[in-house]
């Protein structure tokens, strides 16, 4: 049953989207480059993206579910669901995509003080600051808590020295949220703090890393005697691991497709375009047809499982370690999806340059998907978490 208010809200949203969302932004998203990311240095934004972004921003609908005082739309859970449904209905793209929205924001809402929330959340909502994440280090990948980047207490500030790696888009980012070691003597999980650092600070340098996809979405970031005000410490000193795990849960849910309503082209439509059908109306390659059906059956089941998880979360059962399930399953399916796309497209999935190959869009995205099961905690780490935290498979001692 819908109340009058929700029915009205639905109509308002629908009308708003119809009026403001450009048709070019109602097409399936191919990769991260199809989004507007905001930020001080941002040169991305096409005219259509900027128009859509401005319209949504004015209502706080870049972050519809955040409180209004921090630049959000202040929508209730029910309204937010309607909002997402209406966006999905026409395939409208998110007006702003950023790690500020998907990762730092939720952590600040939970752990930040009032000043920090007012300052940073508002700028995230308005797309003014591009945030990147400083977690991994050369010696701390899967063993993240082994991180060595040091933040020394110098009275009114910290002095940060060290190196981060896989900092997504650090070369475009304005600020970085970092895990740093504030107590080198404590057990490894207990000496970590969560710090926000302005990328323009003296002593911060960043360098893109060229990946197998030929692109450089990730960077190495170096900190050489960087002064960071203590105002930028989130939560308590040495309590950063709790924030890190909270945030990783969010990141994994995000990677796992939770809350993602953006539309992708169905794999079988892609295959029908490329391979065609035989006389009985079936995809003409029977073996690829089976491969596709297996992937799409899993996609359908995963989508419903996401719905189920949202229902459970609403009834007070938090997602917790289940985020590892979503992260693992989604990324493994996505890799299968691109393996099949390359197989379906033949040389069109192998070409790397030139108009005939859309500048290697499929081939490059295929390479990129190999990182899905590495970033945000490898598939193996997710399986460890499920085995230990959900199944309690460990020694009884």
């Amino acid at each position: 049953m819908q109340s009058v208010e929700t029915a009205t809200f639905k109509e308002e949203i629908r009308a708003f989207i119809a009026k403001n969302c450009p048709l070019s932004l109602r097409k399936p998203v191919k990769n991260f480059d199809d989004y507007y990311w905001g930020g001080k240095k941002s040169t991305s934004g096409s005219p259509d993206q900027l128009k859509w972004f401005e319209a949504m921003k004015n209502n706080g609908w870049t972050v519809p579910h955040w409180p209004k005082e921090y630049g959000g739309g202040g929508l209730s859970a029910e309204e937010y669901k309607i909002f997402l449904n209406e966006m999905a209905r026409v395939g409208a793209r998110k007006p702003l995509f950023s790690f500020g929205i998907s990762m730092l924001g939720p952590a600040l809402l939970k752990f930040g003080n009032e000043t920090q929330k007012k300052e940073h959340l508002t700028k995230i909502a308005k797309g003014e600051i591009w945030w990147c994440q400083g977690y991994s280090e050369p010696g701390a990948g899967s063993d993240l808590a082994a991180l060595q980047t040091r933040a020394e207490d110098k009275g009114d500030h910290y002095l940060v020295n060290g190196q981060k790696v896989w900092t997504s888009y650090a070369d475009k980012a304005d600020w970085i949220f970092c895990l740093v070691r504030t107590d080198p003597m404590a057990p490894k999980h207990s000496g970590i703090s969560f710090l926000l650092i302005d990328m323009e600070s003296a002593g911060v340098t960043t360098r893109p890393i060229k990946l197998i996809s030929g692109k450089s979405p990730f960077c190495e970031t170096f900190f050489d005697n960087v002064k960071v005000s203590k105002e930028n410490l989130i939560g308590e000193e040495n309590m950063g691991w709790a924030i890190a795990t909270f945030l990783l849960t969010h990141e994994r849910s995000m990677i796992g497709g939770i809350g993602d309503t953006d539309v992708r082209q169905a794999l079988h439509d892609f295959a029908l375009d490329h391979i065609g059908t035989s006389e009985n109306g079936r995809l003409s390659d029977e073996i690829i047809r089976k491969e596709i059906a297996e992937i799409e059956l899993d996609v359908a089941t995963l989508d419903m499982t996401i719905q189920r998880s949202m229902e459970e979360a609403k009834s007070g059962k938090p997602i917790g370690a289940k985020s590892s399930f979503f992260k693992y399953v989604y990324t493994e399916i996505n890799k299968r999806r691109y393996e099949t796309m390359v197989a379906v497209a033949g040389t069109k999935g192998l070409g790397w340059e030139g108009n005939a190959y859309d500048d290697g869009a499929i081939a490059k995205q295929f390479c990129r998907t190999k990182g899905n099961s590495i970033e945000g905690g490898t598939s193996e780490i997710q399986l460890n978490i499920i085995a230990k935290r959900i199944l309690h498979l460990r020694s009884k001692k």
């Binding site: 109306g281 009834s315 399930f325 399953v329």
Partner: protein, 371 residues
């Protein structure tokens, strides 16, 4: 709500779980070893009837509980865990649904109250081929001297040797798909009980010039409504098979926490932990597929075919995985008849095949999606 149990459904599930402690795997083993004539425990079935399990989906006007398929699915999951043999699926789901969705008012009035009260059991005869293919129907009616004669043969019919009433697909005298109800003691009906890998009850049935009156032909039966009944049945099997799968998995996990090799529990080996974590993920997906499909029946969604094929395919695939891994992880002991994990493997293989296996439903899923 689609996936969450309400209070009544949770209570029903809990009471089923409690009751089924009296019908554990050992009961099935005993029925098998004593070559029991019935093949299920009659006292257990009688209690199931008393608890209303035969009445779950029957409308109130026919003395049913009208509790819905989602609720019934919770019971089936529990019977899947204990591998309890009973006519719940053959009679209370398959035959009952056929009457509800294809029967006339008179047929409903005649059969449903009796089924609801456990005064009779019925079954649904579909297959005529070794591999499920409901489109192959050679069983047919012909008119002779103003009456109908039924001829044909059905295979893999669940609980057929104990059912009082057999509902079967056949071609009517115009060559169209329909359903007929035949009393098992009619002249010309011969039933042959067969023993399958899972020690449950199936058989073949042969119709030789069986006289059928108009009142035994289901007026509401056509290709579409029969397919709906099949899909409901598939979803019920999937719910039961999910229970079987999750129990096989839980037993495997429990065993890994007890069994020691090299001086440590199997649970400490990462090579096994990851396989278990993958099974956990697959079972989560299977559970979703079952819950959404059960809900789809109750919501009377426009096309339950997709839900049914997703559920039957996904659960079958997962059942194969966890039953194989269960036997493997139990090791040598898993190969013995004394250890119960083998019963799960064997039940899984039969349930996977009933009304279409993984390949059948994967193919159907693709067709339904237009490729």
């Amino acid at each position: 709500m689609i996936y969450l149990l309400n209070e009544e459904q949770s209570m029903l599930k809990d009471s089923a779980k409690e009751f089924l402690k009296s019908a554990p795997v050992a009961q099935l083993r005993n029925l098998r070893d004593t070559k029991d004539n019935i093949g299920y425990d009659q006292t257990t079935w009688q209690k199931m009837v008393e608890m209303g399990w035969a009445a779950m989906v029957i409308p109130e006007q026919y003395e049913g509980l009208n509790f819905g398929y989602f609720g019934l699915g919770q019971i089936l999951e529990e019977t899947g865990k204990t591998l309890t043999a009973s006519p719940v699926i053959s009679s209370a789901v398959m035959a009952t649904s056929a009457i509800i969705f294809c029967g006339s008012d008179a047929q409903k009035s005649e059969y449903l109250p009796k089924l609801s009260m456990g005064e009779m059991t019925a079954t649904l005869a579909i297959d005529e081929t070794a591999r499920h293919n409901p489109n192959v129907i050679k069983t047919h009616l012909k008119t002779q001297n103003g009456e109908f004669l039924l001829n044909g043969k059905k295979v893999f019919v669940p609980d057929v040797h104990t059912a009082n009433l057999i509902i079967a697909t056949c071609k009517d005298s115009n060559g169209k798909d329909t359903l007929i109800a035949v009393n098992s003691d009619n002249n010309g009906v011969s039933i042959n009980r067969e023993h399958f890998m899972d020690s449950r009850n199936y058989g073949t049935i042969e119709f030789k010039d069986v006289k059928i009156t108009e009142s035994h032909i289901f007026v509401g039966a056509n290709t579409e409504s029969i397919e709906k009944v099949l899909d409901i049945s598939r979803i019920a099997i999937a719910a039961e098979l999910y229970g079987t799968s999750v129990e096989a998995f839980n037993r495997t996990i429990a065993y890994m926490k007890e069994r020691k090799q090299f001086g440590v529990e199997l649970a400490t080996f990462q090579g096994l932990q990851h396989r278990c974590a993958i099974m956990f993920c697959e079972l989560e997906m299977a559970q979703t597929a079952v819950l959404s499909a059960l809900n789809a029946i109750d919501q009377d969604v426009e096309d339950i075919r997709l839900f049914a094929s997703i559920a039957k395919a996904k659960v079958s695939k997962v059942a194969q995985l966890v039953s194989n891994e269960g036997v493997q992880i139990f090791g040598g002991i898993g190969m013995t008849d004394d250890e119960e994990i083998g019963f799960f493997l064997k039940r899984a293989r039969v349930a996977m095949a009933i009304l279409g296996d993984y390949n059948y439903h994967l193919d159907r899923f693709a067709v339904l999606n237009g490729y």
